[in-house]
Amino acid sequence: MLRYVLRRLAQMVVVLFGISLLVFGLLHLVPGDPAALLLGQQATAQDIARLRHVMGLDRPVWYQFVQYVARAARGDLGTSIFLGGQRVTVLIGAHLPATAELAFAAMALAVAVGVPVGVLCAVRQYSLIDVVSMAVTQIGVSMPVFWLGMLFILLFSLQLRWLPTFGRGMPLPAAFLAMLEGNGAPLVDSLRHLAMPAMTLALSAVVLITRMVRSAMLEVLGQDYVRTARSKGLTARAVTYRHALRNAVLPVITIVGLQVGALLGGAVVTETIFAWPGLGQLLINAISQRDFPVVQGATLVIALVFSVINLAVDVAYAWLDPRIHYG
């Protein structure tokens, strides 16, 4: 087990190197001179030369890359070109909690909906609920996340007037603390703001988890030990949840882990629709302003978080399933 973890860690170092190379390379994919592009058409040759020097673009590419990695390893991702010269790490630090809150809420929602529906579909295969659920997942997988968000706004905000259209309430941990001190209003407000973005973001994960749980449960329910459990006279509930679901849940863990990455990607778009002040919104604004240090920093951080989660999922999988041997 330890050898497996060490090997995965070594592989991850290679991937991290590749990620930083790709993110660093983004700036060099820019057609023409990035400094000239940033300064616009009125810039003089002197201005361009000065910015090239500030950005380090006048050094050899390999030197720029080594410097970039060395700085990134120290937590220095440069400064924003447009947002008042703020440090990129400070900007990311300010926006990351909102994205984490949204992604966590979406994942919790996806598991809370996807697992029971998947189990129900498997236990009652080909029943009305199974057929309807599978049709809904087929449609759900075909819906772009931003359109679903718009439909939610149309329904829950503009028609029913139940939920606020955009923005974020008090951060959830602070709202919880306020509730413990006897003031529940901020928590209600936070949850009302969180509801639509979380539902929007959860859709793709709900679809995948439902399908995965259904097919894993169908496979497990046909096994001999489930038949034995039934023939011992156990209740259907005990067989389903204590015997079948426990074994069916393993592949689901992998999907949940991989979906975190998709959620981080989906959050970029979802945050734009609901004006949710997270990393996604920071990234989209940076892209439209061509604020490269922020684009590179946000991309790097999201890819790093995704890689660490993937590693954690792999290790958890190896730990949870004693049948699997990792050399």
Partner: protein, 262 residues
């Protein structure tokens, strides 16, 4: 069903100028934000332009960008996968690590980062789709080549001195095409979603071209007065993605069935 729907949408895209009497760019401010009616079956937009005419032409943009994006992804992925599977060793190791690096980015994030660098345009959207999805093809082709590279016909071709390039193209490529076709069909759905997302964010097909994504972005501004603008382009995207997903499922079942009977 998926195939029929995909063909229908393809025909609408090809014959876009002839499926409606209206010019998709012709403004008529007196008729702005009209709900669906008999003269305008899908209503009009904020400039009084016929939405059906714009959706029909939008199909052309979406399908072309997605199709060429998928083509770029499959050409890169199939080439890399063939080389990694056939040569193995350090070629395979390098390819596998590069694939790992690309997989470390959520799909839409990588597409956005590439567009940030390359600049917003339909051609760059195609390139971004290609660079985002090539890893799927590379992995599948690599595994397929690994399965057949020690078959007698490959060893025989090698023994009689057939050059590697010819073995790869004439002998191995035809054997890995079936899964590639399935992936490409299923990949069209994902590519259409990426294209519409980029256009929605103003980073894909540029206005005044009537892309579905940008139509939705405009529709979002008029949701109160004209909800149909926020619904119609989304339905177009969803039906198209659904059509290719169903078609992909069908093609997969077909190739699986052929595999079983062989």
């Amino acid at each position: 069903m998926g195939g029929g729907l995909a063909v229908l949408i393809g025909l609408i895209a090809v014959f876009a100028p002839w499926v409606t009497p209206y010019d998709p760019f012709q403004m008529a401010m007196a008729q702005r934000l009209e709900p669906p009616s008999i003269p305008h079956p899908l209503g009009t937009d904020m400039f009084g332009r016929d939405l059906w005419a714009r959706m029909a032409l939008g199909a052309r943009y979406s399908l072309v960008v997605a199709f060429l994006g998928v083509a770029i992804a499959s050409v890169i992925g199939v080439s890399v996968g063939l080389l990694a599977g056939y040569y193995g060793g350090w070629v395979d190791t390098i390819v596998s690590r590069v694939v790992d690096v690309f997989l470390a980015f959520p799909v839409i994030l990588l597409a956005l980062a590439l567009i940030a660098a390359l600049g917003p345009s339909p051609i760059n959207a195609m390139i971004a789709i290609g660079l985002v999805y090539w890893t799927t093809y590379a992995r599948v082709v690599r595994v397929s080549v690994l399965a057949v590279r020690h078959e007698e016909y490959v060893l025989a071709a090698h023994a009689v001195g057939v050059p590697d390039a010819r073995i790869l193209i004439r002998h191995l490529l035809p054997n890995v095409l079936a899964p590639v076709i399935v992936l490409a069909t299923l990949g069209m759905g994902g590519a259409i979603v990426i294209e519409s997302t980029l256009s929605f964010l103003g980073l894909g097909v540029q206005p005044p071209a009537p892309s579905w994504g940008w139509s939705l972005a405009l529709g979002m501004r008029y949701m109160r007065q004209a909800p149909h603008l926020a619904v119609v382009p989304g339905v177009a995207i969803m039906l198209t993605v659904l059509a290719f997903n169903l078609l992909g499922d069908g093609v997969r079942d077909l190739t699986d069935a052929r595999g079983r009977t062989r």
